[in-house]
């Protein structure tokens, strides 16, 4: 390529580059797909797997958990601890303690699958943060459900 050929091809590439960026620049005035994150969020997909939570039974207002400990046995990481008691006048056991060690959970979903009463489900919580390991080493699902039903 000669002297003028080089100038020509250089100038041409500059024009093409400028056309692309100008094109992108003016596309913004027809809107862009940005979400101003803390002020707005994208909808979380239906199948999103956050840490497990109790589902809320609309009839009793409590958890459907019968403290059968199937999830505790099914969990490959051993991060679930369930305790329950049979209250007077009730046919089923009800849960008194459900602790999830989320630091070890691999979100495999075995607990949700095995649950005979559909008491467990994945939450949509993704912005998790804590100041100590204990916050996520012991997530108390019973307390969590209480808080949610109070609201």
């Amino acid at each position: 390529m000669g002297y003028f050929g080089e100038i020509y091809s250089g100038a041409k590439s500059l024009v093409i580059g400028m056309r692309i960026t100008l094109d992108q620049f003016f596309k913004n005035f027809r809107g862009n797909s940005n979400v101003p994150y803390p002020h707005a969020t994208l909808p979380i997909p239906e199948k999103y797997r956050g840490h497990i939570i109790f589902t809320h039974d609309p009839e009793t207002g409590k958890s459907r958990c019968i403290a059968c400990k199937s999830c505790e046995r099914a969990c490959p990481s051993g991060c679930i601890l369930v305790e329950g008691e049979k209250k007077e006048g009730e046919t089923k056991k009800s849960v008194t303690l459900f602790e999830l060690n989320f630091t070890r959970c691999s979100l495999c979903g075995a607990c949700v699958e095995v649950c005979p009463t559909d008491a467990l489900d994945f939450s949509k919580r993704y912005n998790l943060a804590g100041t100590s390991k204990a916050v996520y080493a012991k997530i108390d699902l019973v307390e969590d459900l209480k808080k949610r039903t109070q609201k």
């Binding site: 100038i7 500059l14 400028m18 960026t21 100008l22 620049f25 596309k27 913004n28 862009n32 101003p36």
Partner: protein
């Protein structure tokens, strides 16, 4: 009250009042530009990259520049004493801003809006523009920082290399216009847009290559103001912040201001020399001189900011050149082409004078 106004607007006091008004006007114009061009730059950068840019402080982030200015003013200016040269270190930012501001003295913003109409207006601008190199060199050297020193060495060789084609194009335009008074240069370009120097050179045969002259001027202006793609002097990814690595607080702020003022001055000169200054070009100005000045100022700003927009687009479009690429461009392409246009317009002027 009216007696005071009469006193201020009549002869013994009026030249001083006019001077102070222009001083305040030019300084605030420069300050506002420096602050809000940063905002524009960030918005342009964001839009090119399909982001929304600054959005948090005020609507569309419009108060961001004020917040930034307050932050810079509140910070302490640290200097790397005892290694650094304390006096030069403090002089450098001031020596950078002052010449940049001085250039506004001769810029014709409108028919009546010329702070000082002097015969050597163009020369004044380029004389003060050349100060920029020295201040950056002082800043780099007095910081006693290796990155700053590398950067200032780059600034000097780059600006010396690009001063030549830039002044060659300016000489060509001076030959075509026959004057260095910016007010007269603008007055010559009155009428339709085809009277602007960028087009009139073609059909009057004074300088048929005038679009190339304009392009060379524009490229050299990018290099002289150390803008991307010629921002080797302050290549953030290589040299921290170039000559002003060691600066903090308003010392850094002044460098930033001076940089944007230099861009405004460079684009103003391009507007005056090539794009008809404050002439609208598409419609006649009203007869009332003050109204005409106001509309003229609007037209001037429209052209000025269009040019600045392309300066910003160039930054976010083209990657940084390497140093030998930069010097090759200057010595192998810009200087020969500028010389050819200079010779051609000289020959053509001589020929048209002969017949």
């Amino acid at each position: 009250m009216s007696a005071i106004i009469d006193f201020l607007f009549t002869d013994p006091a009026w030249p001083w009042v006019r001077m102070i008004l222009f001083l305040v006007g030019a300084a605030s114009f420069a300050g506002a530009n420096a602050a809000y061009l940063v905002w524009c730059e960030r918005k342009v950068a964001a839009y090119v990259q399909r982001r929304p840019g600054p959005m948090e402080v005020g609507p569309q982030g419009l108060i961001q520049p004020i917040a930034d200015a307050v932050k810079l003013l509140c910070k302490q200016m640290l200097s790397p004493i005892p290694q650094a040269d304390g006096i030069l270190f403090r002089i450098a930012p001031v020596a950078m801003v002052m010449p940049a501001l001085m250039c506004f003295v001769v810029v014709p913003f409108g028919d009546l809006l010329i702070p000082a109409r002097i015969d050597l207006g163009l020369l004044v601008i380029f004389a003060f523009g050349a100060f920029n190199v020295m201040s950056l060199m002082l800043a780099g050297w007095s910081s006693n920082n290796k990155y700053a020193t590398i950067s200032s060495a780059r600034v000097v060789s780059q600006n010396v290399a690009y001063e030549i084609p830039m002044l060659l194009t300016v000489v060509t335009m001076i030959m075509v216009t026959g004057t260095t008074d910016l007010g007269t240069i603008v007055a010559q370009q009155s009428g339709g847009f085809w009277h602007w120097n960028i087009l009139s050179g073609i059909w009057t045969l004074a300088n048929p290559l005038v679009p190339f002259t304009f392009l060379i001027y524009f490229i050299c202006m990018l290099a002289e103001t150390n803008r991307a793609p010629f921002d080797l002097a302050e290549a953030e990814s290589e040299l921290v912040a170039g000559s002003f690595t060691e600066y903090s607080s308003m010392g850094f702020g002044l460098f930033f201001m001076a940089e944007y003022i230099n861009i405004v001055v460079g684009c103003s000169v391009a507007t005056v020399l090539f794009l008809g200054g404050w002439h609208p070009g598409f419609f006649p100005l009203p007869a009332n001189p003050w109204l005409a000045s106001l509309i003229g100022f609007g037209c001037f700003c429209a052209k000025l900011y269009t040019l600045i927009f392309f300066v910003m687009m160039a930054r976010w479009t083209y990657p940084r050149t390497q140093f030998y690429g930069l010097l090759n461009l200057s010595w192998k392409i810009l200087i020969p082409v500028a010389l050819v246009t200079l010779l051609l317009s000289g020959v053509l002027m001589k020929l048209t004078n002969l017949f």
